[in-house]
């Protein structure tokens, strides 16, 4: 797979071809765009204040006034789901963003320099990899306190090893390629070679992973909420809404879990299908 192949007109044609041949990816892209829109515009779109309680109308099934029903405190579930989109996307994006940035830089530097630094980082990555990751996330959130930023950090840390390894391997393969040698010969510093030439070239391959991880980060936050280590009430967040709603399944109040669950599921689905589609786009064998 030649690194310079990305971004050429043939690639664009290829993207178009893949999207046409793969309606799921197009659908997923549209879904992701919609999510993004809701996330950004939620404060202006919500029909009710997502935090304000009204115990008099608690636990009402879906109706014309409250399309998705109301929760234990009489809050409008639709409004809460819409507001939660913003927080969940933010959690997912920042967690994946941190692990990607940190992982790519550390990995790239290790792959480029090699030597003792590489070995040391490799050891640390080995340790992280051998950890049962969900338990690591749980322990970190429990230790740091269950605030949004700590959930982000925990999610970022458990993804970090993958990005480090990936970036390291990609850079390692390329560091002696002709065009890298050429850049170095032209007087570019090592740092600039890594930042300007090597990192951008591994970005597309990592995009697949980023997309998959976005979905997974949302699931991770939901799992943490289920065991009581998630975002604290009254902040609306899908995971905690699902986790709390799941406990109402038996009492027949299905709307408490169904709608937030659906929102969560659809967003994870979008990110996963998108990642899948990206993989096809990047897969050289699909072009022939």
């Amino acid at each position: 797979m030649s690194a310079t192949a990305y971004g050429t007109p043939s690639t664009l044609r290829h993207v178009g071809w893949v999207l046409r041949g793969n309606p799921l990816t197009a659908l997923a892209a549209a879904g992701a765009a919609l999510l993004l829109f809701v996330g950004v515009a939620a404060p202006w779109l919500v029909p009710y204040d997502p935090i304000a309680s009204d115990v008099a109308i608690a636990l009402q099934p879906p109706s014309a006034a409250h399309w998705f029903g109301t929760d234990q405190l009489g809050r409008d579930i639709l409004s809460r789901i819409m507001m939660a989109t913003r927080l969940d996307l933010a959690i997912a994006a920042s967690a994946v963003g941190i692990s990607f940035l940190a992982g790519a830089v550390i990995g790239a530097v290790c792959g480029y320099r090699g030597g003792r630094l590489d070995r040391t980082v490799g050891r640390v990555v080995d340790v992280l990899m051998a950890f049962p990751l969900f338990v690591l996330a749980m322990a970190m959130v429990a230790a740091l306190g269950n605030r949004v930023e700590n959930i982000v950090i925990a999610t970022a840390v458990i993804n970090l090893p993958f990005y480090i390894r990936f970036a390291r391997a990609e850079v390692n393969v390329r560091r002696n390629a002709g065009w890298v040698e050429a850049a170095r010969a032209a007087g570019d510093s090592h740092l600039s070679v890594v930042l300007r030439f090597l990192l951008p070239n591994i970005l597309p391959a990592m995009a697949v992973q980023i997309s998959l991880n976005l979905g997974w980060a949302i699931l991770n936050a939901a799992g943490l909420s289920f065991i009581g280590l998630g975002v604290t009430a009254p902040t609306p967040e899908w995971g905690i809404m699902v986790a709390e709603g799941a406990r109402f399944i038996t009492s027949g109040k299905w709307w408490l879990v169904a709608f937030p669950g659906l929102a969560l599921m659809l967003s994870v689905l979008c990110f996963n299908l998108l990642g899948d589609g990206l993989r096809d786009i990047l897969d050289p064998r699909m072009r022939t």
Partner: protein
């Protein structure tokens, strides 16, 4: 060959169990088996072990005998414990001397340990000594009955034991009936005692040396305990045996699953379901729901009275006036339970009972005025904490509290802490403002005040130090004159109502959900199931 024979017997027993007894016999054994499901774990067979869970206390009531037991009474058609009735369990009778300083207990002549050996006064003395000497939870409990030294327990005859106190403590006798006061087969236990562990605490954690109504058949900590009836038990009312022959007590962490199990008839009883499920279970009518207010417990919202701004009584009063009690009660408990807010009296309470509703009412104008008088007209910011284990009820409370306090300018940051963290912070008095709950095993008014509002200790939730309360609580403890005692109690309640170190908001219901034919469920002071109370209607 010995081994071969044993394997063969084991195999035969297993085969009998599996091949299935004749249909009738099997149905019979299921009817006489009680399966309780609970979200928590039984972690020890010795309730006095540091770290034992509440479920372990409950289990020990069924496995071990105490010298005395409490009676029960019917309130609104439900059975509730009654500590005004004290009957003998291992002791067949007891006398309290006229000066109230000596309790003489006479052991049953026919009482036997599970291994068939007779119960002796030496066993009893050893067991009582263990309660005040071994490093265990029993020590501080026994202190509340002025029982602190082995010298206070004396063998007065082959089947007679005397308990002596310096001053006539109101609860000396009652302490002999709490879960910690287990009577142990000392001959058996001593075989497993070591130099470092003279009280056999390590062994008793996983084994029993008891005489109670049930014998432990299998014990898998954190998973399940199976009990079988002790056919030689004599400690019941009129010597009657409990109804159920077999008890299975199983840990099922998910509350929704527990509700499903009971509703489908696969389990017989659960006492820790979610308030949200109770309503729908009741309305579907496939199970029996017994709801009993936890008369010896309370849910509270506590201020740390040693931390600014809550050291200021005006601030506490302002917060108290700003809370939406009715809404919280409805959202958290679905209005199931006994309110401890909304009383209309001012000054002195109508009676000396406790907990009783205090004059807590929502009045935002008064709240704003009080806050201004406290010098904080613009409010302040404070965290508000609760433990994850109580999230089902505390989360709505916190959300409503945050919203309501926001109206008078108090900005609340809600903190949901994992149980261990919450308990640590509570014990170290690090939280300025939080909600928690308490249960008093021996619910006398003075005991509540002594336990929850005096001394620098874990259960003084508000870290309250009011000299008058301390004085009154200590006086009431040894007060022999009923009228004087009542006056002291009333004064303590009125001081509490005025000073508001913590706000007792309600007594939640104990919701016991059981099969339609299970009868006799009793709300016990330890809040656990006493299987000896239960039976299944034919």
């Amino acid at each position: 060959m010995k081994i071969d024979r044993r394997t063969m017997l084991g195999g035969a027993a297993a085969a009998a169990g599996l091949a299935g007894l004749p249909g009738g016999a099997q149905a019979q054994s299921r009817a006489e088996t009680m399966r309780q499901v609970t979200g928590n774990a039984i972690n020890t067979l010795d309730p006095t072990m540091l770290g034992s869970t509440r479920e372990a206390f409950g289990l020990s009531m069924n496995v071990y005998d105490r010298l005395i037991a409490f009676g029960r009474k019917q309130v609104d058609g439900n059975w509730v414990f009654d500590q005004s009735q004290v009957r003998g369990e291992l002791a067949e009778r007891h006398e309290v001397s006229a000066d109230g300083r000596t309790i003489t207990l006479h052991l049953r002549s026919d009482a036997k340990w599970h291994d068939g050996t007779p119960v002796t006064a030496e066993d009893i003395k050893w067991s009582l000594d263990r309660c005040v000497s071994a490093r265990s939870l029993a020590v501080s409990q026994f202190q509340t009955g002025s029982l602190t030294s082995t010298d206070q327990f004396r063998i007065a005859g082959p089947r007679t034991i005397q308990v002596m106190v310096d001053k006539p403590d109101r609860l000396a006798l009652h302490n002999l009936g709490v879960p910690y006061a287990i009577m142990i087969n000392s001959t058996l236990a001593k075989k497993h005692a070591t130099a470092e562990d003279p009280w056999a605490q390590a062994w008793l954690q996983n084994n029993t040396a008891a005489s109670g109504a049930y014998i432990v058949e299998t014990f898998r900590p954190g998973e399940q305990v199976v009990l079988r009836r002790n056919e030689n038990w004599k400690g019941g009312v009129d010597g009657a045996l409990p109804y159920f022959r077999r008890i299975i007590c199983q840990t099922v962490p998910e509350a929704a699953t527990r509700a499903n199990l009971v509703e489908r008839g696969d389990a017989d009883l659960s006492i820790d379901l979610q308030a949200s499920d109770i309503d729908s279970l009741r309305s579907r009518g496939r199970v029996k729901v017994v709801s009993i207010p936890q008369t010896n417990g309370f849910t509270h919202i506590a201020f740390n009275t040693r931390m600014a701004p809550f050291d200021n009584v005006k601030v506490r009063q302002a917060v108290a006036a700003a809370l939406p009690y009715e809404d919280m009660f409805k959202a958290a408990l679905f209005s199931q339970g006994r309110k401890l807010f909304g009383a209309t009296w001012e000054g002195t309470p109508p009676d000396a009972s406790f907990p009783q509703p205090l004059p807590l009412r929502t009045d935002l104008d008064a709240a704003k005025r009080l806050l201004a008088e406290a010098g904080m007209p613009d409010g302040f910011a404070t965290p508000f904490a609760f433990s994850a284990g109580q999230a089902a009820t505390a989360e709505p409370v916190a959300a409503l509290l945050k919203e309501s306090l926001g109206k008078i300018g108090i900005r609340v940051d809600i903190q949901k802490l994992p149980d261990a963290q919450f308990n640590t912070a509570a014990a170290e008095k690090k939280m300025p403002f939080y909600t928690d709950a308490g249960t008093a095993w021996l619910p006398a008014t003075y005991y509540f005040f002594y336990l929850y509002f005096t001394r620098d200790q874990r259960w003084n939730f508000a870290s309250w130090d009011n000299p008058r309360i301390t004085e009154l609580a200590n006086k009431a403890r040894f007060e022999q004159d009923p009228a004087a005692y009542e006056a002291q109690c009333r004064e303590m309640i009125s001081i509490l109502a005025a000073e508001k170190p913590l706000l007792m908001v309600w007594q939640p219901n104990q919701d016991a959900v059981m099969g339609p034919k299970v009868e006799g469920y009793t709300y016990q002071f330890h809040r656990q199931v006493d299987f000896r109370d239960l039976k299944r209607a034919g």
